[in-house]
């Protein structure tokens, strides 16, 4: 009996494992816990895009894509466990969706030779491919984001913000502190006063910070928040009648979840974006036809077209395009993680390519290289319309201030290289 059970278990394990030819894309998702409202739409978008490729195109270059989902609960330890338990499945690229997990995985992925893509989060200086061989953060990062927010404020003020006060309301964590150095440099350059307002995790209670904002009346408030901190901040801003169009969040403070609880009071709130919003793109017709109508949509299938669903879809699209590039470079459909890294380092997203993929102007045009793992950092500003309950981009994708950000990336990555005895590559 025991022997038969063992044979059955072995058989089940073999059947459950991926065929070696599958292109494996692990999804370190979080569908449970306090951050689930942000994790679910991203995971759905990520999974649905690969389902679309499998159903419509027969996979990528003839090879089926396989998404292995592992629940992290947005917890760093669980994220590392997910990485360890899935890396042996032939994982081509990891997208950990958490700055905390990213920091833990940077040395691990480097040691294992598996690329990691941290799109719009993680360690900013990973944009320097000479030091971070296996980590990528294109198309943009937090420091570029800070620069784009200031650029938008400059545009609104005729290029002069000398003497103005800008407050940064931030999650008191490594993530929330990321833009501080950049904003300090930008305040020196443009002559604005910077006020720092940390909010402790989880951010349910922010009365002190908003009383301070009410007293000091900064001209603009930037927010680096996540989870409940976003909803409370937007509600508190409405409570003190802070002008919503002077309140600008990072792209992780930019989902429908963040603004809906405040209702009409959230009208006019702005947030940064590195991809377009809504589902007015041809690809959504294909998702309906090949994924939803076939009953293959991930999750409840009710997140399609939300900001974070679009982000998951965009992340999957960039991964698939990098895999295609790798297949073309190496002349084989069955790529390895090292080949995937080459594909990522030669990725080029052009307007023509986006159009062909059914997502015209969905994201900025950018290219990646051995030296530059961060793309060109373009970002746009979106604004919330409470009446129609929708976001819309109110600017084009803008260039960040490379003069300020690039030296910071060089400095931080050089320090990392020195600490870890890394010899810069790409010579």
């Amino acid at each position: 009996m025991k022997k038969r059970l063992a044979m059955m278990a072995l058989g089940a394990a073999l059947l459950a494992g991926p065929a070696m030819a599958d292109l494996v894309f692990p999804s370190l998702s979080y569908r449970t816990g306090p951050y689930a409202p942000g994790g679910i739409p991203f995971a759905d978008g990520y999974a649905d895009y690969f389902t679309l490729l499998n159903e419509r195109d027969g996979g990528i270059g003839g090879e089926k894509a396989k998404v292995i989902e592992c629940e992290t609960g947005y917890n760093t330890e669980k994220g590392v466990e997910c990485y360890e338990s899935t890396k042996g499945e032939g994982a081509l690229v990891y997208q950990p969706l958490s700055t905390g997990i990213t920091y833990q995985l940077i040395p691990k992925t480097a040691a294992d030779g598996i690329p990691m893509h941290t799109m719009g989060y993680g360690r900013t200086s990973a944009a320097n491919g000479k030091v971070f061989e296996w980590t990528f953060n294109y198309p943009t990062n937090y420091w570029y984001g800070a620069s784009i927010a200031i650029k938008h404020i400059l545009d609104l003020n005729g290029g002069d913000i000398k003497g103005k006060t800008i407050a940064l309301l931030y999650h008191n964590s490594a993530y929330g502190k990321e833009p501080i150095r950049t904003l300090q440099e930008l305040s020196k350059k443009h002559g604005f006063n910077l006020t720092l307002l940390p909010v402790d995790h989880p951010g349910q209670e922010q009365k002190s910070q908003w009383l301070q904002i009410r007293r000091e009346r900064p001209d603009y408030v930037l927010m680096w928040g996540w989870g409940v901190m976003n909803q409370v901040a937007i509600q508190e801003a409405a409570n003190i009648n802070y002008p919503m169009d002077h309140f600008i969040g990072i792209w992780w403070s930019a989902s429908e979840n963040d603004v809906l609880p405040a209702g009409a009071a959230a009208d006019g709130y702005k947030a940064l974006a590195f991809h377009n919003v809504g589902k007015n793109f041809p690809i959504y017709d294909d998702i309906q036809k090949y994924v939803v109508d076939k009953g293959l949509a991930a999750g409840n299938g009710d997140q399609i077209g939300t900001v974070l669903y679009n982000r998951g879809l965009y992340a999957a699209m960039l991964a698939a395009e990098a895999a295609k590039t790798a297949q073309e470079l190496h002349g084989t459909a069955q790529i390895t993680p090292a080949m995937m890294r080459d594909g990522m380092e030669h990725l080029e997203m052009t307007p023509e390519k986006m159009e062909a993929l059914g997502v015209p102007n969905f994201g900025p045009a950018f290219s990646v290289s051995c030296e530059n793992h961060g793309g060109n950092g373009l970002g746009a500003v979106a604004q919330w319309d409470a009446k129609s309950k929708s976001w819309s981009l109110i600017t084009d994708f803008m260039e960040p201030d490379q003069d300020v950000v690039q030296p910071l990336i060089e400095e931080d990555s050089a320090a990392y290289a020195a600490e870890n005895n890394i010899t810069p590559r790409c010579n």
Partner: protein, 332 residues
Amino acid sequence: MSADFYYGVEVFLNGLMAGVLYALVALGFVLIYKASGIFNYAQGVMALFAALTLASIIEGQVPFARLINATFGTEIHDFGWRVPVLLAIVLSIGVMVAFAWLVQRLVFRHLVGQAPIILFMATIGLAYFLEGFGDLMWGSEIKTLDIGIPQGGNRWIEEHSAFLGGDDFYGFFIDNLDIVAALVAAVLVAGLVAFAQYSKQGRAMRAVADDHQAALSVGISLDFIWVLVWSLAGFVALVAGVMWGAKSGVQFSLSLIALKALPVLMLGGFTSIPGAIVGGLIIGVGEKLFEYLVGAPYLGGATENWFAYVVALLFLVFRPQGLFGEKIIERV
């Protein structure tokens, strides 16, 4: 007086209001600890679950819809109606009473006589179970809780106090939601005290709190009293969940509000309802004033979370049973 002075007063007033919200969470802990000696780790999750149930009932959501759809291949999500708020509150209280009965029947009845640490561990298990159960029952998306509680600064107070501090003073900011919360807390505490003092069940509850054995010997049913106490804690959790959930939407991080109740309990004592209120007010005012006077100007801000525990620790050192707690003297 300068504008700075009046802003200090404003911080003090807002500290009092925040303290009321902390006390609302702490009250649930006190009720259960007082009657059964159990430190209920699940109180924060109960607040989440209660608010989640209320918001979902109002929206007419089908419970366990995801499970039903996955099992039977259906596509149901809601009943297509909105339930009136009052009826939804009554139904939510019913759910919390049923939860209390189940907890007593399935868990604590089997743990009578066990060490307090075992009972505490059971509540940890209960917390995680209830969080998962809530997710399964109602889903994990953020729900807007619109039950007509006004939000935003009270304009009347702002306008009628603006003259105090000159041009640099904009009047006192007091959130309407906080005013409502303070009134609700006052009614709740008065109701709880009246219930405990004047009703038969309330007196039985106090008897059980004083001495289980003696209460049993005069014919009081421990089972009934514990269901009653857990139901009351569930009701208090509903009130706390509604007040906090109205601010941020009802979402799973709501369970973390329990962290705000711990220093209040350390300060006010685990067995005193007035202690929870006074403790909440002291913590609220203390942390807000410290942030205003010291934290933000000199320490870079974000001092409230840890300073609340410093205040509580100071009280613990000099009065281990808390301000209003019962002094326990054990003779060997």
